[in-house]
Subunit: 236 residues, 2 copies
Amino acid sequence: MTYDLWYWDGIPGRGEFVRLALEAGGIAYRERAREPGADGATLAADMAARREYPPFAPPYLVAGKMTLAQTANILLFLGEKHGLAPKSVEGRLWVNQLQLTIADMVAEAHDTHHPISSSDYYEDQKAEAARRARSFREERMPKFLGYFERVLEGQQAWLAGGERWTYADLSLFQLVDGLLYAFPKRMATLAASYPKVMALHARVAALPELQPYFQSGRRLPYGDGIFRRYRELDAA
Amino acid sequence: MTYDLWYWDGIPGRGEFVRLALEAGGIAYRERAREPGADGATLAADMAARREYPPFAPPYLVAGKMTLAQTANILLFLGEKHGLAPKSVEGRLWVNQLQLTIADMVAEAHDTHHPISSSDYYEDQKAEAARRARSFREERMPKFLGYFERVLEGQQAWLAGGERWTYADLSLFQLVDGLLYAFPKRMATLAASYPKVMALHARVAALPELQPYFQSGRRLPYGDGIFRRYRELDAA
């Protein structure tokens, strides 16, 4: 079965967490809103037409009769179905738990530039963004990155132990990658304190399974999505 | 097996979503941080000592050798193990998806009074809170509540259809209950537009399974948790 992935074109966003799992897992999919002739209106119309199991927001994955939304939920499905997570109850829930913690940090990274309203421009909430970004840089980044470092200290190469990556490793790569883009100065300061997290980022970047994707030109650049580079929001 | 639930004493918080599932499911548990002699330090010490599968934050549930954190993850476990969600892959993932959407709104409700930093006082972010709360009341509340109304229009009495409630129904009850506490004026305006959501709230409130808990005095009042009643953040 070829899955249909629906997500906004033009930004990596939350869709990228799903893409990395599909790509690294060698799973066939189409990106419906990125096909020729499709645009945001195509996506909005498709989403509105899904009466059974409606998504609240993209990304969502159509798998035959099933429509799955919420990034962590899509990954839970792909993990179970395609062996991208341990099969044991314990391992499967641990990977889900990690994914939800990654999602929490992703949401907080987004809110650094949109602390008041997602539907308003950044320019209309710059003062608040400066305050929120400072709190994120000084308190939240060390707290979250320190947590993942601690997890990796208890495991081997990968977050869930084992010989092979899970989808949570791919997601942590994407999170760190986005932070390196959005907060280069802060990450330059912090990187030395979280060597295992940074090593995981490098290890996923070098995964043979992902090289065709990285070289394809299909991986979208950062820009107006979750991870944005506003110089005034970054500091060492 | 009697589970150990660890969560801060004194606020319903995210722990309440787990408590409602445990209580409605008739599942034996102890609240370790609410036992005589225990306090926040007891919880912090226990959490720090959990080296394998460490939680990022409370609530977490100890089930034998397993330690499970992240509210939606704990509920996923309880749902599978104790029949608080459908057994089918489709139904189980749908309930998880709903739970994650509920969690998103819970996080946004929290951020209305702490839009800058969770570790600062509300008094130090009142101006930003006023702006964020307005966006929440005017844009986000109708969007989320409208979504759940639409879901209920496609189902019967419960979010996942079927004859019996799932843990997502309990969580939607708790979310609406918290909104009624924190935003009474706004909810008075909105309630008429979301009759099925309000009916679900009333239906869960009347569940025979929950009456002993509601009458026990163990259900904590709102106050300094996620849902707070600051008059200046509410408006019709």
